[in-house]
Symmetry: C2
Subunit: 419 residues, 2 copies
């Protein structure tokens, strides 16, 4: 297992560490100096270091506001050009602060770092990471500071990688440069058994498996974006999620997960979605394909899909979409309704989803029944259910979400460390 | 003469116009929209347009402050990386605003525009302008919006061009793309016979020659940086300095200058310099060369140099330097003083320079005498004098500068238009 405390100086010299710092970690000059101090310490401990940095604090939001002020629907190419100014500022400042610590450093844009993407502005996918200039910088004894979230397209235009993009940059660089670990520094101290704002006695997990982390990220865990976890898993990049405020050991994410597996690792929730129900459609082949094909054509991100068993030759199809996509999803569904013989199309934005995630579920039957019983005891009505081999999700009323999370956290004794 | 009103639609279609907008012209979203409206109008009038833009308002100052907050002496490479974020923001926003007007536009960094410089960070010199992507954009019917002030070095690092750099970018692009005119939009309506803040009845000049503009820029005229005027002259780029607030006709700068030549075109002044005097140095060959060689080695910008006629085998040498360079200049001069046999090295920061500039001087003898008489009548003592064929400069007490400018403006009747 590679998950030793690499930045505490306990491993062999000259291993490469990728350290990614999010916006809150570099929100102001004080924070930038604190991060520079940590990077310099890691370097002096004998590690090569590649740093990936996001834009400072609320910079990206401010730039988006400016854009909306001059243009109702800014084009993707210019929006990407605009937003990439954010990391340019933070990475140059961080470099200066690292050099002030007496450690040589050089900053690189996504383009200079050789992060080549496709041409889909705003959510480009990485096609290739060249990294030659980073290797040169490392060979010269420099800390390479790379702008997160950005790349250059095959058409030589500046692109951004979309939500969680800086994590993806860090993981991609860690994979290509064969880093020992990719440390994701953030404003929380790791991955918790539930959102500590909802469950004050939630416990930090010392380790989770890639599989569990994927399910958590997909169901409302806000610490890592799903895409970067998938990328890390596919390329075998060990992640260490930890705090840039306390610098303590956080949560390791790797293939194995924790040494001792609890039944449930965590409870997640998400109140950012809405539900659409298409009622009484004929129970015939091809109906669902037409509906979800049309939604995909309109770039609506459909999440959960539940179809009831047919009664009297018709069935109801319910699905959830991000609330931002609700209007588009309704437009598509209502337009298609008559064609596919639906009786009605209804929507409901007052829903929430509560999920329990844990690899231990595979070997412990009865977990689902225990979840449903707890919700029933709490008087929480279940509107939709979907499961994977290590996750069970229930759609409930939005107002019931916090109560459900607390009850499930207590039921599975997640506040207690494993013996 | 090419100085027809190209953006009023009066010339042939498809001529190329370069339009440069300074920081105050794009200081906020309202200003950006106003500029976009003007660019779109120029395009619809049948011109191809390349826009060069500076950072918004005080952005550059704010970025410098942030840098100083994390690093006492930021390195040039990172400083350039930081500062170039400013134009990135303004150019992306301007592009969006132009597209909102229904005119296709695309932004280009200095690197994307093919502006290749040497490796001197902070004041790089342009070595080559490739411009292929701009030509492509123009051929596609797009307005090309280019980040001013920046380029990419032969080492593939981001560079900035130093003071007045956006003007230089605009002139260089106008030269390479063979633009009909390079319009420099600013917050004043053109080149004036004197600074209107000092002389309220100063008059806007309809045209000045390159030669006059160079002398004005070198002696305190703040509208254009000297370097960009030199560049324009060397490459025959016609300039039109005008207001982005009123959009009225401004001042044309070209080879010919005005049709009717007055004796004097303008009075300039500069209170940003200090004077150093090295006294009683032996009047021998090589003394001045050693002194100014040493200053040049320390990168001190020496401006005026005056050496008196030798009396008794020794002479005094006086010279002016930007006040920011005074400490360095004194250090060099005092260190060298004993070696070159100087009696003393003194300095004076309370000086100012008043200059009169005009091509008409060449054919009108007695202009200098008239200038000295006016200053004498005003009780202004002249401390140093230097001249060129079309300029006379006098160093006076800083407190006398405004009085001198007003008196000279009146003496040469610069408030009265030519008959």
């Amino acid at each position: 297992m590679t998950s030793t405390a690499v930045t505490d100086g306990s491993t062999s010299a000259l291993s490469l560490v990728v350290q990614k710092f999010g916006g809150t970690s570099v929100a102001d000059p004080d924070r930038i100096r604190a991060v520079a101090d940590h990077v310099a310490r890691t370097r002096r401990d004998g590690h090569d270091v590649v740093v990936v940095v996001s834009a400072m604090g609320k910079t990206t939001d401010e730039l988006i506001r400016l854009a909306q002020d001059v243009c109702p629907e800014p084009g993707g190419r210019e929006m990407d050009m605009l937003l990439t100014a954010g990391e340019r500022i933070s990475m140059a400042l961080l470099c200066m602060a690292i050099e002030t610590e007496g450690v040589p450093a050089a900053s690189f844009t996504g383009s200079q770092a050789g992060i080549v993407t496709d041409t889909v502005h705003g959510k480009a996918r990485i096609l290739e990471v060249r990294g030659d200039r980073l290797r040169e910088a490392i060979a010269n004894g420099q800390v390479a500071v790379v702008a997160g979230f950005q790349g250059v397209s095959t058409e030589r235009d500046v692109t951004t990688l979309g939500r969680g993009g800086s994590d993806t940059t860090a993981v991609a660089l860690a994979a290509v440069l064969k880093a020992e670990v990719c440390e994701i520094y953030t404003d929380v101290a790791g991955v918790y058994t539930a959102d500590p704002r909802v469950v004050p006695n939630a416990r930090r997990l010392p380790a989770v498996s890639f599989e569990e982390m994927q399910e958590m990220a997909a169901t409302g865990g806000r610490v890592l974006a799903l895409r970067s976890v998938e990328f890390a898993r596919n390329h075998g990049v060990v992640l260490h999620v930890r705090s840039s405020f306390t610098w303590e050991q956080g949560t390791w994410v790797n293939e194995e997960g924790p040494m001792e597996q609890a039944i449930i690792s965590g409870v997640t929730h998400d109140t950012s979605e809405a539900k659409i129900t298409v009622t009484h459609v004929p129970d015939q082949p091809g109906i669902a394909a037409r509906l979800f094909g049309a939604l995909a054509d309109d770039e609506v991100n459909v999440d959960m899909i539940v179809q009831n068993t047919s009664t009297g030759g018709t069935t109801d199809i319910s699905f959830t979409v991000p609330r931002a996509d609700l209007a588009a999803a309704m437009r598509v569904s209502e337009a298609l309704g008559p064609e596919i013989g639906a009786e009605s199309v209804t929507h409901d934005a007052e829903i929430g989803r509560v999920s329990i995630v844990g690899a231990g579920m595979k070997t412990n039957p009865g977990v689902a029944a225990r979840m449903f019983r707890v919700l029933s005891t709490e008087g929480v009505n279940i509107e939709m259910i979907s499961t994977s081999s290590i996750r069970i999700s229930c759609v409930v009323r939005a107002r019931d979400v916090e109560r459900a999370v607390k009850a499930l956290h207590a039921e599975f004794e997640l506040d207690k460390p494993l013996a």
